[in-house]
Symmetry: C2
Subunit: 332 residues, 2 copies
């Protein structure tokens, strides 16, 4: 295993230390591994909080900032953060208007965020609402999941609910945006290689040099099937087909993300995006906004995922609203 790390037991804190040094505008609690937008909550604004296991950077810490998350709680690699820390962050970001928890659908995360919501409500009377993201069409249940896994759709929920909160909408309205996004977003991924968890020191799974795994999970959980390595166009089909089979994306504008898993260069992601656009266009799907890059990764895994979200005028406006975070930034 060759990684730019110092100690397999400290990779999360060491990485957060770098994030804090690079982004002094953020307030990073290294001891509790929480990235905050600032030292104090924004008065009157709904707090938007997410988190989960580390290893998916820039998710979630890279999305803390104006127009997106108020805080992100980082667990160990591929391990949910504990309820007490999520509760602490929840209390900290409550500006008096309540807090939204955005939770990827993994058993540990769902349980810990639920306990955290109860703890925060009991301790500081903060109103917490939770939206669970379960957008991965690959498999119904999985290693760490009852139901579908939460993957790339989380990036859209965080941006769009974050923009709604920034615009001053109340908790019910912010929750409504998050739910609408979660209900209308679908993803599917593919692995060309395994990832290697630092503490394990070896690849999570073995994948032959001439095979790829369709429907891979972001922790290396088994996908749908292994197939011989093929070209970008056929891989695009293999991602698009199950997504379009699950939800109708015709008849309105769509957000699309071609996301890298961490070890795949940007040039290849653009090749994938070209093929995705060509195929979606042929099938009557119109992309209104896009993201191409590394947005939700699996450590050093090579591969990519496709996420589609049905847009509406409100969501398009929220998307275009300014955002200033380490990993997504545009507008004033």
């Amino acid at each position: 295993m060759k990684k730019l790390i110092n100690d397999v037991d400290n990779v999360v804190v060491d990485s957060l230390r770098g994030l804090a040094a690079a982004h002094p505008e953020l307030h990073v609690d290294l001891e509790h591994r929480i990235v905050y937008r600032g030292a104090e909550p924004v008065p009157g604004k709904v707090g938007v909080l997410s988190g989960g296991g580390s290893g998916h950077e820039p998710l979630h810490g890279g999305y803390v900032g104006v127009g997106m998350l108020d805080a992100a709680v980082a667990g160990e690699v591929f391990t949910s953060p504990t309820p007490d820390l999520v509760a602490e962050a929840t209390t900290h970001v409550d500006g008096g208007s309540g807090v939204l928890h955005i939770v990827k659908n993994y058993t540990g995360d769902v349980m810990n965020f639920e306990m955290a919501a109860e703890l925060a409500a009991a301790e500081s009377d903060v109103r917490v609402e939770t939206v669970v993201v379960a957008d991965d069409v690959a498999v119904e249940d999985s290693l760490y999941t009852a139901g579908r896994r939460g993957v790339g759709g989380t990036v859209f929920v965080e941006k769009l609910a974050g923009a709604a909160a920034e615009a001053g909408r109340d908790l019910d309205a912010v929750v409504a945006v998050a739910r609408r996004v979660a209900d209308n977003v679908r993803s599917m991924g593919v692995a060309l290689t395994s990832c290697t968890v630092p503490a394990a020191g070896k690849p999570t799974f073995d994948l032959p040099a001439d095979e790829i795994e369709l429907g891979i999970g972001i922790h290396g959980e088994p996908g749908r099937k292994r197939v011989p390595m093929t070209n970008a166009g056929q891989i695009a089909d293999a991602l698009i087909d199950p997504i379009l089979g699950d939800l109708d994306f015709t008849g309105g504008p769509v957000f699309a993300m071609v996301n890298g898993m961490g070890g795949t260069p940007l040039s290849e992601l653009y090749i994938m995006y070209a093929d995705v656009v060509e195929r979606l266009t042929a099938r009557g799907v119109t992309i209104a906004r896009n993201l191409v890059g590394n947005y939700i990764t699996s450590l050093d895994m090579a591969g990519c995922s496709l996420t589609l979200l049905r847009a509406d005028d409100d969501l398009l406006g929220l998307w275009d609203a300014p955002v200033h975070t380490p990993a997504l930034s545009w507008g004033r």
Copy 2:
């Protein structure tokens, strides 16, 4: 070789097709592999143009847009674009105030951009000035280079000269900014793995599982030496020492970039950045601005590079000026 590609002979055009689809605000000439900021030059503005071999994405095409490049000419992977295409792009971006060529110091690039400047001057009377970037302290001459190689410093030259042009400065002033940056920027890289050129189908060089190569070039050219794999802190030292040994970075603010080579996850780059900051601070170097991410890559190589640039008030102001490109974006 597992890559998200369709045809090893078309990776550059296929990738540009994706860039064009993702960024309809750009004007992409797929036939000639030129990415333009728009269909027409900006009247009165100095044109800022760069380019070179592909495989370093987002450099250069990802830096075309408001506040940075007017055009980028993409050669084949690791191969300079031909003079006729560079000349065509030069003529196209001339808004009547001349054009700056930003050229990485590789023999093919230097020669082809020089011929292009002569062609453009002869054909359309455009005034062209050239700034060559040669910031890599690793080796004096190299496989494709007389003198030092041009690497990460190019990102800073493109942003800062681009901002100077956007601010309406004339060609001499824009050239002066580019030269000042080129004179005051230094880089050093390390490879944990080789890269694989698609058309070659196998790694460019062999690197044992327990060794890294210090001073690697962005095309996999030999570095200074191979050493046993070690931790991020010691790698930070191995990058910092030769840079500080070459130029004094104390006594004023500094720009710093920890750049990924394409196959290294962001979490590891932040770990490197934390170590870099700690060490530079101890040695009296003060970082005023930073970039952490994949900005100039070597296909799928794992590894990173460090770039330091001496700042001054003018450069800091130019850095903070708005930029809107696929890969760098902030401000209005």
